[in-house]
């Protein structure tokens, strides 16, 4: 009885007693959720346009960040480093389309998925062969001092990340839903053969999508790299994107955002208010348990396209 009270009532009581503190935790959580969403977004783009779950998205984040930080260390100004990294990511998209995707047209999705695992190993190895495997500090001049609004402390860096991410998502969502190219992208995701039969050039579409996913990866890499340092661990944040995708739905750009916010806010609040009851570390598993529950109740996610089975 006492345990139940501890779990079910006590945390809510402390939330009610310290509303400002709760709000701070919530905002902090939402903002780190935006960072998860940024990674998840890369997955969604490629999944929407080719029906392929791109295992390599995490590796692309690391790869982009390595080049960016590498260029900065060569003494390049920030704008040139950005341009250079963009060129690298677009070139990578061309290479992947030419070498990996084109020979595998019309293969079942599982084959393409396996191919992206191969790409992961290649990118992890290749990036670190060129730039080494040390942890590098990345500072692009985003202020990290807290912003004080009334009684609230808000991390300026997180706020900045949230704004960037919000912009990116709005543009992408509108583009996918309302333009002919967006429609073509969705068509390719649905059925390769049919898309080809109406004259959609598959190769062009794939190159576009992988380029955009690479650019989103670059943004995510720079943001996460500034926060954690650029290191091999960056490719593992892709794992956190998985529960985000399951919550939001693999095919929905807005879903990636909402999923990211839910996971970010949920795990922070759970950690702070429920964590002490079980000795902490709730943050590490909260997202996965939430994803598991979602799989049972709503496997297509919050915003995913309904899985339609006709029998």
């Amino acid at each position: 009885m006492e345990t139940l009270e501890h779990i079910l009532l006590q945390p809510f009581r402390s939330i009610a007693e310290t509303p400002m503190f709760f709000l701070e935790v919530l905002i902090g959580g939402l903002m780190s959720g935006v960072m998860y969403a940024l990674v998840a977004l890369g997955f969604v783009l490629i999944f929407k346009a080719s029906g392929v779950f791109n295992f390599a998205q995490g590796a692309m984040v690391l790869f982009a960040a390595l080049f960016f930080v590498g260029f900065l260390e060569l003494g390049w100004p920030v704008w040139l480093a950005v341009a250079g990294s963009v060129v690298v990511m677009v070139a990578l998209a061309f290479a992947i389309e030419r070498v990996v995707l084109r020979p595998l047209v019309n293969q079942p999705p599982i084959i393409l998925f396996m191919a992206t695992i191969g790409i992961t190993f290649f990118l992890d190895g290749f990036g670190q062969t060129i730039w080494g495997s040390d942890v590098r500090r990345l500072d692009v001049g985003i202020p990290t001092t807290p912003l004080i609004v009334g009684d609230l402390y808000i991390n300026q860096f997180d706020l900045f990340a949230a704004v960037i991410c919000g912009l990116l998502v709005t543009v992408l969502a509108l583009f996918f839903q309302f333009t002919p190219t967006g429609r073509a992208l969705r068509a390719v995701a649905d059925d390769h053969q049919a898309a080809m039969s109406v004259g959609i050039p598959l190769n062009v579409i794939w190159t576009i999508v992988w380029s955009v996913a690479g650019l989103v990866g670059l943004v995510a890499g720079v943001m996460w790299g500034s926060k954690l340092g650029v290191q091999f661990n960056l490719s593992l944040i892709a794992l956190k994107a998985l529960p985000v995708l399951i919550l939001g739905g693999f095919t929905s750009v807005p879903g990636a955002i909402v999923g990211g916010l839910l996971v970010g806010a949920g795990e922070k609040v759970a950690e702070v208010f429920w964590g002490p009851l079980v000795g902490g570390a709730v943050e590490d598993w909260f997202a996965y348990v939430l994803a598991l529950l979602f799989l049972l109740v709503r496997p297509q996610g919050l915003f995913g396209e309904r899985i339609i089975e006709r029998v």
Binding site: T179, T181, A187, I308
Partner: protein
Amino acid sequence: MTTAATDLRLDSRQAATGRRQRRIGGVLLAVENVSLRFGGVQALSGVSFDVRQGEIRAIIGPNGAGKSSMLNVINGFYQPQEGSFVWKGERLARMRPHLAATLGIARTFQNIALFKGMTTLDNIMTGRILKMRASFLEQALWWGRARREELAHRAFVERIIDFLEIQHIRHTPVGKLPYGLQKRVELARALAMEPELLLLDEPMAGMNLEEKEDMCRFILDVNEEFGTTVVLIEHDMGVVMDISDRVVVLDYGKLLADGTPDEVRNDPRVIEAYLGLVHD
């Protein structure tokens, strides 16, 4: 044959006689000496035939005769080891799906290949993709040409929707539609491309009589009103003999016969290949 089936045949025959004034032009597409192998399997060997502007051309043959392979060769999904094409008098060594679509060849599939998660309207709109001229940037900003174009294409697509009588399912995701309607949406998407040559792979397979009747009428109307050339694969001999102008018969990847329905029907080799299908 049931009475309804006989009616169907009468209906389409009347339509067929009404169509006799149609203008059948010169050769639109000639397929020359096409051979296609998959490893050790010879799917097509040395097949040649032509399709004239404005006609309805049927390809028939027993299962595994290479009919679908032939369509896949024509629209560039399969690359034959030998053979070439002549499109409007111009020789093409290779055909690619994108090139085929650009030339004005549209198709439907035996096992329905629609974009299942998208609505009927969006599916048909994909057929307009090659007609869109606005640049990537204009689209992104929904500005100038992009806006005007989208509206014009939407209007065109609405005409097709009216024509095929699928207004009521405009906003339904096609994955939810029954089979017969999905086939119709697929035809609509092909028509949205304003094709010169329409390839139909078993457009009536698995349909009930009423649906078959509708589909027959649509094919004849398309051919008559838009002058679209049609190549179709079909197993229902009644339908084939009634609506087509000329028939190609394939058997084991080889050309067995080529001629008007009457000629083909009475060809002893065709009768032998079908053994009982024709004299039922």
